[in-house]
Amino acid sequence: MALIISALLIMTPVILALIGSTHTTFEANLYPPKITPGSAGITNYIRAWDFGLGRMMLNTIFVAAVVSVGKIVLSLLAALAFVYFDFRFKSLIFVFILITMMFPTPVRIVALYDLVESLKMGDSYLALTAPYLASATGIFLFRQHFRSIPSSLADAARVDGAGPLRFLAYILIPMSMSAIGALAMIQFIYMWNQYLWPLIIISSEEKQLIQLGLRMLMQDLAGEQEWGLAMAGVVISLLPPLFIFILLQGQFRKGYALAEEK
């Protein structure tokens, strides 16, 4: 029925890419295009890996993990402050953080590059991670979640003499695992897909991130039509996010819808 056809149509580009990744250069340039698996087997994958994608994949896993963890921690702390404390300038600070959602990368990239270079942070993992650590989305998500937790728990914690951090660690966090999972997944995929900032700030190949590896492959291709190699690069680049997505796709739909709809 219509559903099967739609799903197949949507998957077709990726299926073709997968098949194409097994083509030798000759097979990749056949016309009519060859739609059966080719004879290069996993050769293209090995070539792509050695070409630099392997290293880039490891770099990206590292950077994505650091940012995900960092962002979650900072967002949890901030949400804790907003939900369980009253303090001067609370609304002001909240708006202050909220407004940062209007500063996407292209709006600040020239000045950001300047800043990072003058801080001597250029071409470093620090530059790739630090700017991403604050997250209005994460703070929203956790704030909303904390507000749905019964206040009797916080009162009980104080009666027991527990401070805010212990409350966070022993009560809030265990009760927020699904929100944490959802945010972790969104952030990992978001970092995995980063292109512009790594392009601008990283100049040494061994620190570069995975998406730029595709650019490298495609640029090298300009004369060679090495589509098999490019498709192998594509498959390598899309596997980790796909894996994480399938693992946590239930969380994703709940958490993302919550987060984006503010």
Partner: protein, 295 residues
Amino acid sequence: MAAKFPQKAMAYFLLAPTILICLLFLYYPTGRTVSLTFYKVAFFGLKKIYVGSDNFKELFTSADYLQSVLVSFIFTGASIVLSMTISLVLAILLNQKVRGIGIYVIAIIWPYTLSFAVAGTIWSYLFNPAVGMINYLLESLFRIKPDWISIGPLALIMIIVTTTWKSLGYNVIFFLAALQHIPRELLEAANVDGANDLQRFWKIILPLLTPTIFFLLVMNSIHCFFTSYGMISIMTEGGPAGATNIMVYKLVHDGFNMFKTGYASAQSLILFVIVVAFTLIQFRVAGRRVHYGGA
């Protein structure tokens, strides 16, 4: 609402890291961008000259820039209309309580997790004029073999198709969630009253979807304007002759390839105005129907 912890000073410590990052990497560069628009950089960055609003004057009289604005809006508009229409249909199809429907949901949604760069690479392969699948199909069916890379409007179509495909998943997620929130009684009452499927759709479902549609219009626009750089970088590099030179791409080119810092900053500022406009619209409309997820 939970009673608060008394150690007020601690709140500031909890917020300090976030505030610091926001100040350093978000507010400061944005502010600096504004001031950079007033300067022209000479001798590859060694000398800065104050030029007032010259950068803006240059922009507004630049054919390249005006082309890039036009291209951005056409690209965004077309992608959004196509993507949201198809996504709505898909969401309706997926909104069935059938066993195993989850598999279809995953299959249809997951291309959204791909980056623009990956999507761009895949579709470059499919759109390759010489050996790509699309031209093979077109030639077999219609005897035409368009040159997607060297003809302006075709390159634009190429990126529109790529973006539409990539963003289906995102729109389906939200449409599906919205559809599932529609109370059954409403639809059943309509059936009892003798409404057919089309009437149910136009008079009940669509109006109830309006907030979602609005939300998606804004979010898709932001995605097209601000996150599609990778696709352009891989597929067309802004060409041919600026036909796919969206604002973000031109901005980065001017700033980092041509070292025209002030000029690029002016473009950044204009993009900033655009994102503020989008966000404010979103808040105004959403503010009237804030609902905290849930049932």
